[in-house]
Amino acid sequence: MIATVWRVAGVGFSLLLVLIAALLYGDSASQHAFLNSQIGEVTIGFAVRTDDLTVLLLAVVGVVATCVQIYSLGYLHERAASYHALVTLFTAAMAAVVVADSLFLLLIGWEVMGACSYLLISHYWERREARSGAVKAFLMTRLADVGFLFGIFVLGVGAGTFRISALDPAQIDPGVLTTGTLLLLVGVVGKSAQVPLQTWLPDAMPGPSPVSALIHAATMVAAGVFLIARLYDVFAASATTMTVLAIVACVTMLYAALCAAAAVEVKRVLAWSTVSQLAIMFAALSLGTHEGRHAALFHLVTHAAFKGLLFLCAGVLLHQVGSAAFVVLRRYTRRGRLRKALPVTFVTMTIGLAALAGVPGFAGFFSKDSVLEAAWEHAHGGSVVGWFVLVSVGLTAGLTAFYCMRLWLWVFFRTPALAGAVGAFEADDPMADLEDPDTSKLKDASWLMLAPLVLLALGAIALGYVDGLHLNWVVALASTVVVIFGVLPAYSLWSRGADPRPVLLEREFGVDRAYHALFVVPVRWLSKLSVLGDRDVVGAYVRAVGRSGALASQGFRLLQTGNVQTYLTAAVVGVVALAVLAGVIAS
């Protein structure tokens, strides 16, 4: 009953968002503030605004959320009430971020998303990896949010206002501006899982797939991109921040793409690819040009479509097969069953992967191309950053094509070379049952789940054309070549039945382990130290006071011997002592 209410509410709310976006479309930008309180010289309160960016993001969020909500109706049955409620809250929080004109309202949405993602990731709280992944996600984003909060302080106090529309970079001291934006960037990096705060996102995969779709496509991680787009004037005013952003983005996109190339679980590959794609958007933003911003937002929109699609497809795999690990999926695939049993999923996922890989004609191709174009333009302007971004995005495009192809082939196609073997993935799960699964009951998911897939697949193709076709043919050609260069090795490896995964990549460069040793272990030690310190140092003093009191008491009892002459002696000694003492003090 309650679950039904929340289901309806969830779908309704996300449709409402779409409706609002539609209503607001074309309205002139405006702001409205409410519930303000004056604290000293600054005002703390809430404000909302509407402009193109709001409308765009609201639409994206609304559509993706609608797809996810509807999809979830079919996907999820246990604990549906809390699930749908949280997804709705999640969407609402993202909507708050999108419409916020007050940094505090933005922060509320920003962090409520973190909390919702925590709760949703740990939806399957029976599973160990879900629990730890959720905690990790929350803590890492929380850590970044501290920087974000401080950034708000710095900018807000520096500008004398916490209203986004009132932040004028010209009015802010350059040093303050750089500090503030850098601190905000910390929050962005955390939320969008960029290097060095990237490790939480892949570990968040134990959450339900629709949630992953939501997180990766429209909310949470996209919020970082949105934020910089929203505060683009402020960010662009600080060259230092933009350079840092460029470096972070470039490192991240390559790093994540490499990690994705070695991941052996569909959702994990997709997660790393999100990190990588977000980095591309950041790279575009870091150009500091209008084209860059436009390209980033364009890529954000197309990415929302195809990444949402991909995660929902992965969800179908999980739902119908039970796992999205390569090793499991291969057991179906080696008999060629998977593709045939799940035709719609196969087709839509192929579209999604193509879009992700940047195959010409699909949305991803166009948006990535616009990023490359922007970078190219900028590089021509003599910017080192532009060159840097251009080269990185190019390399990433190749890697993306590689891992998309790898995923597609290994999951859906039997390898002639392996003659029905699972492939290179047995080692991943020695306990896995390598017997043939019962494939007779395998069938495609219900229409509730497939309808969003189809919708998003259409989006993944069509969204590439909404911005109008203005391709720079040189860049487009180059990127196509890069894609081909990425695809070919994947095909070649697959056809030979080999999947070489360097240890370094498989361990994702050891970052996780290093963080564990650098942060988690010391904190555990410190916590132990703190507990012991309280017990054995501070507490010991208190106990020692008590014990010495008791001891003294016992001592005075022992002195009370009952012998009156002892008392008299003590008294006379006391007289002499007092005389001497007072003499000493007086002199």
Binding site: T566, T569, V572, V575, V576, V580
Partner: protein, 165 residues
């Protein structure tokens, strides 16, 4: 003259006082106390306080020491020397007393070392009597309450409990 008299009495007083606190026979100690008190009375005399000297002899030697001797008898004090009459703490007690004497003696010598007493007779019964009844009426009256209370108290304590044989 008075100085010499005083010196003799003082020496006697000190020697006998030492014996009072060191004698191993209790009864001897009591008798040495008589000597000390007498010698102190002599000192009073030498300081021209004849009335006080007289009272000292009457009250102390005549009454108090007799009381003490009675008490010794009643408490069945042995007449033979007792090795345990002083406690084991006596060296310490001696040290404490010694330090005290040193402190007080030094202080007294420094403060009064140069002063002399003029030998003027001013201690007859009339002087003291007048002082008591002209100036010190209140303490005198209170003293009478004290004597009465002490007397009644002593009697009450000495009575056997009713029912006690």
């Amino acid at each position: 003259m008075t100085t010499a008299l005083f010196a003799v009495a003082a020496v006697v007083a000190v020697v006998s006082a030492v014996l009072v606190v060191t004698s191993r026979r209790i009864v001897h100690a009591a008798l040495w106390l008589v000597v000390t008190l007498g010698a102190v009375a002599g000192c009073f005399g030498a300081l021209h306080a004849e009335f006080v000297a007289l009272v000292q002899i009457l009250v102390y030697v005549g009454a108090i020491v007799v009381l003490v001797l009675f008490a010794l008898m009643l408490t069945k004090a042995p007449t033979n020397p007792l090795p345990t009459l002083t406690t084991a703490r006596s060296p310490f007690a001696a040290a404490v007393a010694g330090v005290l004497a040193l402190l007080l003696g030094t202080g007294v010598v420094i403060a009064f070392g140069k002063e002399k007493i003029k030998p003027v007779p001013a201690g007859d019964a009339e002087t003291v009597g007048t002082a008591i009844f002209k100036t010190w009426v209140l303490p005198f009256e209170v003293l009478s309450v004290l004597l009465l209370a002490a007397l009644i108290g002593a009697i009450a304590l000495s009575q056997r409990k009713s029912g006690e044989s």
